[in-house]
């Protein structure tokens, strides 16, 4: 099987892809830089534009804004937050997201533990059903829920939306935590049992402390999912300005103020992504873990 090599092996080995050879610059670095620019430019454009005056935004493209002399203003943010009602929407997003996340992750963690560490008939089926439910198109639950909510007059209230988010989120969180708890070594729990711990104690004192990273992934994932959700918010609280979150408000602005309102719309968009971006950059590791857990099922 030995083939004669035309060049000594060592020479070929020096052409490592990581080296700064002309080839790696052309085929690796250049396309990657290009892709990154393509991915970064749209967001950067909106960011720059959100600090330009209305007149500037109307007259010239955003790229003129980064050319000295710089004339940035924070007026757009002041305007959308106070007059545009975005301050209230921001608060609403928080008031919708935090309780939803807490309810969903608490319940999902308990369910994940029970499914992973208790042996009983039907555990496999329950898990399979939950897994199947993670991919059900949300549209399929809207009609009956909206009808019931209208009958009970809870459409437009936040607690109603919390529960919808809990219902939608629990299968995924359960699945994520189940995968984590299942991997914990049995000895960990046996030691606790010898010390006389019942299930509740081994859950609280043994399982939970080790589960912090997995819970963090679930929290971040759920936080971003609820914060970014448009469809459920639109249907269950969208008609009510008092409770509408950022996504609903901004999507409403899009249709009202494009054309001459780019300075406001870009600022509004940035207000709506401040939280997700902060979460993303501060806790990227956990976010990536959540993404992985969600996809490599």
């Amino acid at each position: 099987m030995l083939r004669p090599t035309k060049r000594p092996v060592t020479e070929r080995r020096t052409v490592r892809p990581t080296g700064r050879t002309a080839r790696s610059l052309a085929f690796v670095h250049a396309p990657l830089v290009l892709l990154c620019l393509l991915w970064l430019t749209p967001t950067a454009a909106v960011f720059v534009s959100s600090f330009r005056t209305a007149a500037d935004s109307f007259a010239t493209g955003w790229w003129e804004g980064v050319r000295p002399p710089l004339r940035f203003t924070e007026q757009n943010y002041v305007e959308v937050l106070s007059h545009g009602g975005l301050g209230r929407a921001f608060m609403n997003s928080l008031l919708i997201t935090l309780p939803s996340v807490s309810v969903t992750v608490s319940i999902g963690t308990v369910a994940g533990f029970a499914l992973a560490r208790m042996r009983f008939r039907g555990s496999g089926v329950t898990l399979a059903v939950l897994l199947g439910l993670t991919v059900v198109p949300l549209q399929v639950i809207l009609v009956p829920l909206l009808r019931i909510y209208n009958d009970l007059a809870v459409t437009g209230t936040r607690p109603g939306l919390w529960l919808v988010h809990a219902g939608v989120g629990i299968p995924f969180v359960t699945y994520l935590l189940h995968n984590f708890f299942r991997e914990l070594p049995r000895e960990l729990f046996e030691a606790a049992e010898i010390d006389g711990a019942d299930h509740l104690r081994s859950f609280v004192h043994v399982a939970l402390p080790t589960a912090a990273p997995a819970v963090a992934s679930a929290v971040i994932f759920q936080f971003l999912w609820v914060w970014n959700d448009l469809l459920l918010a639109l249907i269950f609280v969208g008609g009510n300005r008092e409770t509408a979150p950022l996504t609903v408000m901004v999507s409403g602005l899009v249709n009202n103020i494009t054309g001459q309102g780019w300075h406001l719309l870009t600022a509004a968009a940035f207000v709506s992504i401040v939280c997700p971006l902060a979460v993303f950059f501060a806790l990227q590791r956990y976010f990536v873990k959540g993404l992985l857990a969600g996809s490599v099922k």
């Binding site: 070929r12 892809p17 991915w39 454009a45 499914l115 009609v143 970014n228 870009t266 968009a269 990227q284």
Partner: protein
């Protein structure tokens, strides 16, 4: 206002507390039972809260929607809503658009995401490159739609273009394009936004998969004289195949469920409607519960085969 804030805080803090109290109560109630009885009852009592919420908010609505889809305005039952699905031109158009999404989003995100994962693996600034590409996955589709409407912004010829793409197009000497209105470009533009958002997921998953390839395999390929491209084609790609299938199914499901991007950017106008938007319109604007239920059922039927593929590969991966 402040009462509602208080309620939200109370629920946020209280949810774990209430749940733990429930578990404590369960363990107390179980105490008088025999060991076997406890073992049998305990899991279901622990699972009672999740199963109640999921049953009420997912399983029951799912079944109810199927029932409603056979309901015709006025209360009788029949196949009218499904006849509408089969015969209506707008449903056909939406299906075609969903097909475009399916192919475009899946192929586009897969190629771009894999490219970033492979290329980033080869450079020192891997973390930064991946962060740039994953970032859009963390923001809302609404924000992404604003970001891209700004890119696609159109002004009539002769006026200074403030949209990035049209500035480039006119600088190259061509006429500006109304990307979101022109029916030759608008679906591609919307799908492009979808790709921009989903590539991060693909990159993260593919990157993890690449790192899992044994180094000896790559080295063996190199020793056998394979250049970088053949190395990728014959050594790396076959190793990534199972991951590619799983990621493709996720992208396909995303494509079939597409809603937000279309809703915010064109609202389904200019022949960009997809099934989910049609369903929303029937539900909210026309209040035709039967039709929108039938559309939802159609979505589930379309997603099912994709889920089947996903589960099959998921099982294989575990075995």
């Amino acid at each position: 206002m402040s009462r509602q804030v208080l309620l939200s805080v109370a629920v946020t803090v209280g949810a774990p507390v209430v749940l733990l109290s429930w578990l404590w109560l369960v363990e107390r109630l179980l105490r008088p039972l025999s060991y076997r009885g406890r073992r049998r009852a305990r899991p279901w009592l622990w699972l009672a809260p999740p199963l109640a919420v999921v049953g009420l908010y997912l399983v029951w609505p799912l079944l109810s929607t199927i029932w409603t889809s056979f309901q015709v305005r006025g209360g009788q039952h029949g196949l009218d809503n499904y006849r509408y699905l089969v015969h209506s031109g707008e449903v056909h158009d939406a299906l075609v658009n969903n097909g475009l999404w399916l192919v475009g989003l899946t192929a586009g995100s897969l190629v771009a995401g894999t490219a970033v994962a492979v290329l980033a693996h080869l450079v020192r600034w891997e973390t930064a490159a991946k962060a740039v590409v994953v970032m859009p996955a963390a923001i809302s589709t609404v924000a992404a739609a604003v970001i891209w409407r700004f890119m696609f912004d159109y002004r009539p010829p002769g006026v200074a273009q403030t949209g990035t793409l049209n500035a480039i197009v006119t600088a190259a000497g061509a006429e500006p394009v109304a990307w979101l209105v022109d029916e030759r470009t608008n679906n591609a533009a919307l799908i492009g936004v979808g790709i921009w958002m989903s590539v991060g997921l693909v990159t993260v998953v593919m990157s993890a998969s690449i790192k899992a390839i044994p180094a000896e395999l790559i080295d063996a390929g190199r020793v056998d004289g394979a250049g970088p491209f053949r190395l990728f084609r014959y050594v790396v790609l076959p190793q990534l195949l199972p991951t590619i299938v799983v990621v493709s199914t996720l992208l396909a499901i995303t494509a079939l469920k597409a809603f937000d991007v279309v809703y915010v950017m064109t609202n389904g106008n200019y022949d960009t409607n997809v099934l989910a938007n049609l369903m929303y319109r029937e539900l909210f604007l026309n209040a035709d519960y039967g039709r929108s239920a039938a559309l939802a059922v159609l979505l589930v039927i379309l997603v099912l085969p994709v889920v089947a593929v996903n589960l099959r590969f998921f099982r294989k991966g575990r075995a």
